[in-house]
């Protein structure tokens, strides 16, 4: 009789222990997965006369003009790498014609490589063997230069206005939880037939200067896929431009890509010859 009771008690204790341990284990991870900046309860209601689409266009213009020149340094961190990989490049972007050109300057192994985008196609030039190839669909989702951007991102990043519907969610008070200044929070919903897998993008756009501050990409089930933070906002030719971009993918542990822009030139005039496959092979 004694033994039976002991066993029963023992079993109960064991059950409690298991419950306690599970709860204990669950708590920290629960805490991890809640990002305070995701909560929209903090937002103030938006002013009624502000058109979210206009705000989106202003944000777009904070990063690009019709013809933009950019020189930048990209740092890639990954658990695979013992030290971060640093890529320096210059880019010429022609927005109305949907074309752009990127020349890689560093590291030494990649110096001279180049990319030419003539929407919707992307060509890649590799220096040592002096060959050019067009990137097919199967390669479009591969990382660009090893970063957390894909080749597809490069080609399609100009469609955020036309391919999306825009909805104003509110105004972030700029208390440092998500961003440091007052910002409109706008939801970008892709059109039904838009060739993107995102379910939605939630963007923070500064009220004062209309600068892109933060972007969160979600899949259709509402899972956050990646976050892009924009910082170091400085004025260039009347535009307030973020010079530091940080990309954090949420499905790859320990990965991040940082872009530090050293030079921005807006409203440039570009030589037509830049956007040709011939230019890929030039040493410039």
């Amino acid at each position: 009789m004694r033994d039976a009771r002991k066993r029963r008690i023992g079993r109960k204790l064991w059950l409690w222990a298991v419950c306690a341990v599970s709860v204990a284990l669950a708590l920290p991870s629960a805490a991890d997965s809640i990002d305070p900046s995701d909560s929209l309860d903090r937002l103030e209601p938006a002013p009624p006369d502000v058109d979210p689409r206009d705000v989106a266009i202003r944000a777009e213009n904070s990063l690009r003009s019709d013809r933009t020149y950019m020189a930048a340094k990209m740092t890639i961190r990954s658990p695979r790498l013992s030290e971060p990989r640093v890529v320096e490049f210059r880019s010429w972007d022609d927005r109305p014609e949907k074309r752009s050109f990127i020349r890689i300057d560093a590291p030494a192994k990649d110096r001279g490589a180049a990319f030419l985008k003539l929407h919707p196609n992307l060509w890649s030039y590799v220096p040592r063997v002096e060959r050019t190839l067009r990137i097919p669909p199967s390669m479009m989702l591969q990382p660009w230069m090893g970063s957390d951007f894909t080749n597809d991102d490069l080609v399609n990043e100009s469609s955020s206005i036309d391919d999306y519907d825009h909805r104003m969610l509110g105004v972030d008070p700029g208390d440092g939880v998500a961003v440091d200044e007052r910002a409109y929070v706008i939801e970008f919903i892709p059109h039904e037939d838009a060739p993107v897998v995102w379910g939605k993008i939630v963007a923070w756009i500064g009220v004062e200067h209309g600068t892109q501050l933060l972007q969160k990409f979600y899949d259709e089930d509402g899972e956050k896929m990646r976050t892009i933070g924009f910082a170091e906002i400085r004025e260039v030719n009347g535009r307030w431009v973020p010079h530091h971009w940080e990309v954090t993918p949420h499905n790859k542990e320990g990965h991040s890509t940082t872009i530090e822009i050293s030079e921005f030139r807006f409203d440039e005039t570009f030589d037509e010859k830049i956007f040709t496959t011939r230019n890929l092979k030039q040493r410039n």
Partner: protein
């Protein structure tokens, strides 16, 4: 005929012994027939799956497609000319137009290279089993932006009905295009290959995506009898010069071989059964004649010709075998009628589906399947009785009569 009557009476003189022989023959024939009918059922399923999901009875392509199955080897007029010919041809029961390409299907979780097939829902449903194989959602309908994919592909992509996917292809001009589409339905066919690697979408959408204008890649044709497809192929090929016309046998010769191999195996099995029965019948007959030595002696003594004697022994053998054959056939038909819905081999699903065979195997019998056993039975009877009949005729009447 006296020999026949004598033979018949002899057979039933020892009912239990005859019954055992009849049973042996019946078991052998029935067993072989039933086993083979299921085996053939598998082969038939394999063929029908391939035909019902991909091949149809006949496929028509632009010239050069066999050597180079590329997007640009297409029928620019959308198949107008062949369509006329097909509608007029009496051997054609149904046909459907298709566009074939390759692409990448992308979901938030994964990207998979797939074969892209643009179809016209109504005509495709008439020639393909995919329309009847939907497990969730529904088949293609008027909505241009809906695609259907197989269960295995859906699992790999972690998508369900209603989820959005991006289809990325290289179109006719060589440009990369993508389209945002939604999964309208998920299917499950006996073909693992189809379920894991093919995406179906409306023809017009595929033409738009691939910049094909009105062009199509192929026309699938179904006739009345897949076995007599060669005639249809011949008549179509002659009226459709300039296009490639191929029957399913030419498109996948392996399937046709399967039937031949199966038939050959059948001969071997029957051969074994034949030899097995041979021993049994021969043994019994021998015993019979030695039992009836005196009787045979008397018969010979009163003037029965030896030939008649031999014939009656052979007839005995034949009767027993034929009765066994009849019983065997009856048992076969009864068992197959009971099992006509097929046997469930779901625990072997993965293996079967890699060959394009479903989980339920239905038995299939052809008229010709009854011919071989009959011939085998006759042969067995004849051969088995040969030696005993010969021995019987060698009895010396004088000695035989005095046998105890």
């Amino acid at each position: 005929m006296t020999s026949l009557r004598i033979a018949w009476r002899n057979v039933w003189r020892n009912p239990r012994r005859s019954a055992v022989v009849v049973t042996a023959v019946a078991v052998g024939i029935a067993g072989a027939l039933i086993a083979m009918s299921f085996n053939y059922g598998m082969v038939v399923q394999m063929i029908e799956t391939a035909i019902g999901t991909e091949l149809g009875h006949i496929q028509i392509h632009a010239a050069g497609y066999d050597a180079n199955p590329e997007l640009r080897v297409r029928m620019p007029d959308g198949g107008e000319r062949p369509e006329e010919v097909l509608t007029r041809n009496e051997g054609v029961v149904a046909f459907a137009r298709r566009v074939r390409g390759e692409g990448l299907v992308v979901s938030p979780d994964a990207s998979v290279g797939v074969r892209v097939v643009g179809v016209e829902p109504k005509s495709e449903a008439a020639i393909s089993i995919v329309a009847d194989s939907m497990t969730s959602g529904h088949y293609l309908d008027g909505n241009r932006k809906r695609v259907i994919i197989g269960e295995r592909l859906a699992k790999r992509l972690h998508v369900d009905v209603g989820d959005k996917i991006v289809l990325s292809v290289t179109d006719m001009r060589g440009d990369i295009t993508g389209a945002g589409l939604r999964v309208g339905g998920i299917f499950h066919t006996p073909s693992a290959a189809l379920d894991s690697g093919t995406l179906f979408l409306p023809l017009v959408e595929s033409q738009h995506l691939l910049a094909l204008d009105d062009a199509i890649s192929e026309i699938v044709v179904v006739g009345s009898d897949r076995a007599r497809v060669d005639d249809l192929e011949g008549s179509l090929a002659s009226s459709l010069s300039g296009l490639e016309v191929k029957s399913w046998k030419q498109l996948q010769p392996v399937l046709d071989y399967m039937v031949t191999v199966f038939d050959q195996m059948g001969y071997i099995i029957y051969g074994a059964v034949f030899v097995a029965m041979l021993f049994g019948i021969a043994n019994v007959l021998l015993m019979t004649i030695y039992e009836r030595v005196r009787e045979i002696g008397i018969l010979m003594a009163i003037g029965m010709p030896r030939s008649r004697l031999a014939i009656s022994i052979v007839l005995e053998s034949l009767i027993v075998t034929l009765v066994g054959l009849a019983v065997g056939f009856a048992v076969t038909l009864a068992v197959l009628a009971a099992l006509r819905d097929g046997i469930d081999l779901s625990s072997f699903a993965a293996g079967l589906e890699s060959f394009g065979v479903g989980q339920r195997i239905k038995p299939v019998l052809r008229y010709s399947d009854f011919v071989v056993p009959t011939v085998v039975a006759f042969l067995t009877a004849a051969v088995a009785s040969g030696w005993p009949a010969y021995r019987a005729t060698r009895f010396r009447p004088a000695e035989a009569v005095r046998h105890v």
